[in-house]
């Protein structure tokens, strides 16, 4: 692939923001991560644009940065909006109950360690193979499988999850 940086951001920026959000669960942190990754990519664009999969490289930056605790979120704090209400009662309509259940799942996801969350998002949102995930997070496929298994086990094992699944019937 090759093309302008502007074209890439116009075409893929939204997808990266969506990925960043499900990865972090935090709107402001995800914007920060994506902006930072794209800013780094901007400085290397002549080379990155020549890669077969620039997306993969940029996602890798985002994931690596997410795994780092050393996020400087503070630059965003002053413009932070109050967090969205997460209570199930905030939803209404025919699909309100199902949405509330997914919000509960969303909160459970937030409680996972970062590695497990990243692996689950890459597998179930991005649809990557364990091998691709291993390359992206720089570990072995066996480690990826272990993180995924542990993450899913924690979700399954949660009483809240069980009630979600039972209630969804």
């Amino acid at each position: 692939m090759s093309g302008s940086f502007e074209g890439y951001v116009a075409g893929r920026g939204q997808a990266l923001l969506r990925f960043g959000y499900v990865l972090t669960g935090d709107r402001h942190l995800s914007e920060d991560l994506v902006q930072e990754a794209l800013a780094r990519a901007h400085r290397r664009w002549p080379r990155i644009s020549s890669l077969d999969h620039p997306d993969a490289y940029i996602r890798r930056i985002i994931v690596n940065d997410f795994m780092s605790w050393r996020r400087r979120t503070r630059r965003l704090l002053l413009v932070a909006d109050p967090p969205e209400p997460r209570t199930p009662g905030a939803h209404s309509g025919d699909h309100g109950a199902a949405r509330a259940e997914r919000d509960a799942m969303w909160q459970l996801l937030a409680e996972l360690p970062k590695q497990q969350r990243a692996v689950l998002v890459l597998r179930f949102y991005e649809g990557l193979t364990d091998s691709d995930i291993a390359h992206l997070v720089q570990c072995s496929p066996a480690t990826v499988r272990a993180h995924a298994a542990k993450g899913l086990a924690r979700l399954r094992g949660s009483a809240a999850t069980l009630s979600i699944l039972n209630g969804a019937n």
């Binding site: 902006q35 400087r72 998002v121 949102y125």
Partner: protein, 347 residues
């Protein structure tokens, strides 16, 4: 009954669908790119990115756990109103000093660090495009069993080259990817690494190797720019740079740090971004504003204090770290900004 996997997929997709388009993304990204290219105020160059990553997982970082063990790992059980306790003076230190630096650099470093790492950055005497000095040489010491991965990762054509520093096998990498950087990494001893990077005209193999070869074990110390007199019990300074400092509970692993768990202090210029945000407040002799965003455990208090016509002292803390605005105000009354001058000493 849907499986956990199916429920997870639906959850992720539904939340992804709530992300609005950001028409200003390109503008913001380019502005950040320009700032970073001109030199980060955190003195972390692209070549030092591996050092930044130093703490990424921090599995082997030693954290002082003595004397503190709240069950929630956030802060001890609430005490009386006089909750904050005296905190000992903080001194940043860096264990290495270069005996050689290229001409055109300031000889006094900017120090920064975190649990398991320390950085010394040497900046140019002349200003870069943004009017600030360019970070020319960055030296990072990382205490870790295994060196964390670089971020951003190497490009396909960035070939690591073998080198030697002080007799130790080393890896030299030079990237010509937009902002020229070069770095050399070696293990001083098991559990201790050094990453030395150069940028721009200081990114040649010759410069980087010569600075590396000239490093000696002499400790540089700096009292930093802030005095912190009070802190919640169990909190200590976990992250510092020339113009910022963060405190976190000793019991929390670095990998679990977040803005929810830390108290962050920094200085910034007066601008519309910070002026007039929130309720007017007075802390000691300083006036400013206090803004609260979020509620409950998600509440975050951000305090802006005018310490000069052009400088603002910023303190942010969640209700987990400091329970309310009053506690933040009391904490802030014990924070003193010493000014931009660094008082360095070398052993």
């Amino acid at each position: 009954m849907p499986s956990v996997e199916e429920e997870l997929i639906l959850t992720l997709r539904r939340h992804a669908d709530t992300v609005p388009a950001d028409p200003a993304l390109l503008t913001v990204v380019k502005a950040r790119s320009r700032r970073a290219a001109a030199g980060s105020r955190f003195a972390l160059t692209a070549g030092a990115a591996a050092a930044v990553a130093l703490i990424m997982l921090a599995s082997s970082v030693a954290i002082d756990l003595s004397g503190f063990g709240p069950r929630d790992g956030l802060r001890p059980a609430a005490g009386p109103d006089g909750f904050l306790v005296d905190t000992p003076p903080f001194v940043a230190s860096f264990p290495l000093t270069p005996t050689y630096l290229p001409s055109g650099l300031r000889t006094q470093p900017n120090l920064s660090g975190a649990p398991g790492s320390a950085n010394a950055s040497y900046v140019s005497t002349r200003a870069g495009k943004n009017g600030r000095p360019v970070v020319a040489i960055n030296i990072a010491v990382v205490w870790a069993a295994v060196l964390p991965a670089r971020n951003p990762p190497l490009m396909p054509n960035d070939k690591p080259l073998a080198a030697r520093v002080h007799g130790h096998p080393a890896t030299f990498v030079r990237s010509a990817a937009g902002s020229d950087t070069a770095d050399i990494t070696w293990r001083v001893k098991p559990g201790q690494w050094v990453i030395l990077s150069g940028t721009a005209e200081w990114s040649t193999r010759g410069v980087v190797l010569r600075v590396a070869d000239g490093l000696v074990a002499r400790t540089v110390r700096s009292a930093g720019q802030f005095k912190i007199k009070l802190a919640p019990p169990g909190f200590k300074i976990c992250l510092w740079s020339t113009d910022s400092i963060s405190l976190a509970p000793c019991a929390v692993k670095p990998s679990r740090y977040s803005d929810k768990r830390t108290i962050q202090i920094w200085v910034t210029g007066a601008s519309d971004t910070v002026n007039g945000r929130g309720k007017p407040v007075t802390i000691g002799t300083h006036t400013g504003w206090l803004q609260t965003v979020g509620r409950g455990q998600n509440a975050l208090n951000v305090l802006v204090l005018k310490i000069s016509a052009k400088t603002r002292l910023m303190i942010s803390a969640s209700s987990v770290a400091l329970r309310n605005a009053a506690e933040l105000s009391r904490f802030a009354s014990g924070v003193e900004y010493l000014g931009p001058t660094h008082h360095l000493t070398v052993d």
